[in-house]
């Protein structure tokens, strides 16, 4: 069964006088273990598509299923819980809570899910090690580099074993070395934990690493290349 099923989805905005069709009839599915990237020119609808898949926004037409659940059937507060349980998010920036330590940030969703302390600490340690920041437990986000912050965000997203992780341009604010190391980590987690990753990017390095590249243009899929 597909982790994500997108059936003939439309999303248009009417903020201005002209209607903007940000997503214009997309049908697409992601399988468990995918390491997929969505590319396309600016304004092509990448962010919009990821927001729809993550349940942050509702389509104006069509349907999205995640692990068999229809997102349209969920009430707003159920949708929040659904995201907590099934979707991991890594944003371009402002991912972390500045007043919490790296470890506390990693543990945040486990905390929301009321994991017992022991289990939470074990998992946090494990994750901090696997993103290479075992020694930065007590650091605040402001004491970490941009790349380190993104790695903490990946660790947090991964902590509670979501169905997949959405990352909207996760390397956009990183230098190439940090970007490479973030990608290394995600690739490793994809391998080792079988975690499904769905990115959007402008970054050629990210595209090269992806196993599947989906190209959007004007809200439509123009190509979907599986490389492996």
């Amino acid at each position: 069964m597909a982790v994500v099923e997108i059936n003939n989805v439309f999303k248009s905005y009417h903020d201005t006088e002209v209607e903007v069709k940000a997503i214009n009839g997309v049908t697409l599915s992601f399988e468990k273990g995918d390491f997929a990237v969505i590319v396309g020119p600016s304004g092509s609808g990448k962010t919009t598509l990821l927001n729809l898949v993550g349940g942050l926004d509702q389509p104006t037409g069509g349907e999205i299923l995640i692990a068999g659940h229809r997102l349209s059937e969920l009430k707003p507060s159920e949708l929040i819980d659904f995201r907590m349980d099934h979707v991991g998010f890594v944003f371009q920036s402002y991912n972390l809570i500045p007043v919490l330590t790296a470890a506390e940030n990693v543990g945040f969703i486990m905390n929301l899910q009321k994991w017992p302390k022991e289990k939470r600490m074990t998992r946090t340690n494990e994750l901090l090690t696997s993103v290479g920041l075992a020694d930065r437990h007590k650091s605040r986000p402001s004491q970490l580099s941009g790349g380190q912050q993104q790695r903490i965000a990946v660790a947090r997203a991964l902590a509670t074993h979501p169905e997949f992780i959405l990352a909207d341009e996760p390397t956009a604010n990183l230098d190439s070395k940090s970007a490479e190391s973030l990608l290394d980590i995600m690739e490793k987690l994809n391998h080792e934990e079988g975690m499904t990753f769905i990115f959007s990017t402008h970054d050629v390095r990210v595209m090269k690493r992806a196993h599947r590249v989906i190209t959007l243009e004007d809200g439509k899929i123009v190509s979907d290349d599986v490389r492996k």
Binding site: F91, Y94, V99, N111
Partner: protein, 471 residues
């Protein structure tokens, strides 16, 4: 991590803003508490002065006496009623009075006076007039004698300044003369030696003795041992006249009474006015003078007395003063209201800024799965923490001042003191100890916080996560 822990960490993300906001709440609470404490303390003092030196908390009166204070509106009082009233659980005592006006003459001086026939042993417990007996008087003679001893120029100046002043105790004397413990050794004995005043109070058995106010004694130039004549109209139009010896002189803190008061035993007064067994009022003193208790006691007593008698409360008896106090009280409250408005805007500004700054973070938190109710709870706790921090500091800061001011009241001296006395105030300003007015400040701050919490929670519930994160 618990919500309150996260909230606590959050308030310190902008230390300066949190401290400034808490400090503004602190300032408002502190200022309001100290100001209210002084204001309420002053009212309390004023009431106590007037009530305890004159009206009492409850009075038994003829129903028309208050509007027409005339001897003809007096009532006959019997022992049975007195005993019945004494039995009330909140009543400690009841003392009868016969009060009327007369013209007092001594030598070539005359003065309209208030003649108060009292039950001296009873009044000693209620009004404690005996305590007001003049103990020292700075007479020209005394000044002369003290100046002949070796005293500083400063003391000499003070002696002239307080010439003619009468003191019923040493506390006030020491303050007027700026006597501190170290020089009391030198001056106080001199005052004790040369300015002591020979004085006595009524026992109730006298037939021709009176005690008069210091102001009146000055005016009539009548001293202890001198004779004064009282003339007036008696009960139902008879003529009243009598000669009396001044047995003692009292110093009352309210000068408008001090200047005209003549005390004599009630039996003498009844004889003077040809009004046997009559009383114009009976002052009822109470165990608890809490507003509610006074009201309830008054209601109970009303059921005991019959026409033409009635029970008046101190508020009714001192309506003018109560009104003035209420007007003053309102202006105080308005001032505090304005203060709190300013603070409310400050708190609101902080909330607005905080919400704007953390918009993306809020969007991120809800995106990754934090329920809006939980987020709103954390933010509300943050505001409560800041507000309560300010309140706690304000309360804590006010306590030393309020307690100190209560037990060591501000005491005015010189001209300022005189001005106070002219208005009938005793020139001290004790603060009021923490009472319900403390609770009110906390309630007001809580209301401000609740408004801030409602505002921020609404913003959170209406937040669109995508817009929040795009911002």
């Amino acid at each position: 991590m618990k919500d309150y822990q996260l909230a606590w960490k959050n308030i310190w993300r902008n230390k300066r803003r949190t401290l400034i906001t808490a400090a503004s709440v602190f300032f408002a609470v502190f200022f309001a508490l100290v100001m209210r404490s002084f204001q309420l303390g002053a009212y309390d003092r004023l009431f106590k002065n007037v009530i305890e030196s004159y009206s009492g908390y409850l009075q038994l009166q003829h129903i028309d006496y208050f509007d027409d204070p005339n001897l003809d509106n007096s009532f006959e009082i019997n022992q049975a009623l007195i005993d019945q009233i004494r039995k009330d659980p909140n009543v400690t005592d009841i003392v009868t009075r016969l009060e009327s006006f007369a013209l007092a003459a001594a030598g070539s001086h005359t003065q309209g006076v208030l003649v108060l026939g009292i039950d001296p042993p009873g009044e000693n417990k209620v009004m404690n007039i005996r305590n007001k007996l003049v103990k020292y008087k700075i007479t020209p003679d005394a000044i002369e004698k003290i100046k002949n001893e070796q005293v500083s120029d400063h003391t000499k100046k003070l002696l002239d300044l307080f010439k003619g002043e009468a003191y019923s105790g040493e506390t006030r004397l020491m303050i007027d003369f700026g006597i501190s413990d170290s020089d009391s050794a030198e001056i106080l004995p001199l005052i004790r030696r040369y300015a002591s005043f020979n004085n006595a109070f009524l026992t109730g058995k006298e037939t021709n003795d009176v005690v008069i106010g210091d102001g009146l004694s000055e005016y009539l130039k009548a001293n202890v041992g001198d004779t004064i004549v009282l003339m007036g109209q008696g009960y139902h139009g008879t003529t009243a006249a009598g000669r009396y010896k001044v047995k003692g002189i009292v110093k009352l803190s309210a000068p408008d009474i001090d200047n005209i008061i003549v005390y004599l035993p009630i039996e003498s007064a009844r004889e003077l006015y040809a009004a046997p067994a009559m009383a114009t009022s009976a002052v009822i003193s109470l165990k608890s003078n809490d507003d509610d208790d006074i009201l309830q006691t008054g209601n109970r007593l009303k059921n005991m007395v019959s026409d033409p008698m009635t029970i008046k409360t101190w508020q009714e008896l001192n309506a003018l003063m109560v009104n003035q106090m209420e007007a003053d009280n309102r202006s105080g409250m308005i001032m505090i209201g304005v203060l709190y408005m300013v603070i409310a805007f400050g708190v609101f500004g902080t909330v607005l800024m905080m919400m704007a700054e953390r918009r993306r973070e809020f969007g991120m938190l809800v995106s990754i799965g934090m329920q809006k109710t939980k987020l709103a709870k954390v933010v509300s706790l943050e505001m409560l923490f800041i507000g309560l921090l300010g309140v706690a500091a304000g309360v804590a800061g006010s306590l030393p001042i309020v307690f100190y001011g209560h037990f060591h009241p501000l005491r005015f001296t010189g001209e300022f003191a005189r001005m106070y006395e002219d208005y009938g105030f005793e020139p001290v300003m004790p603060t009021m100890l923490p009472d319900t007015f403390y609770l009110w400040q906390i309630v007001v701050v809580l209301i401000i916080l609740v408004i801030a919490i409602i505002f921020s929670s609404r913003k959170i519930f209406r937040m669109n996560v995508i817009n929040a994160m795009r911002a």
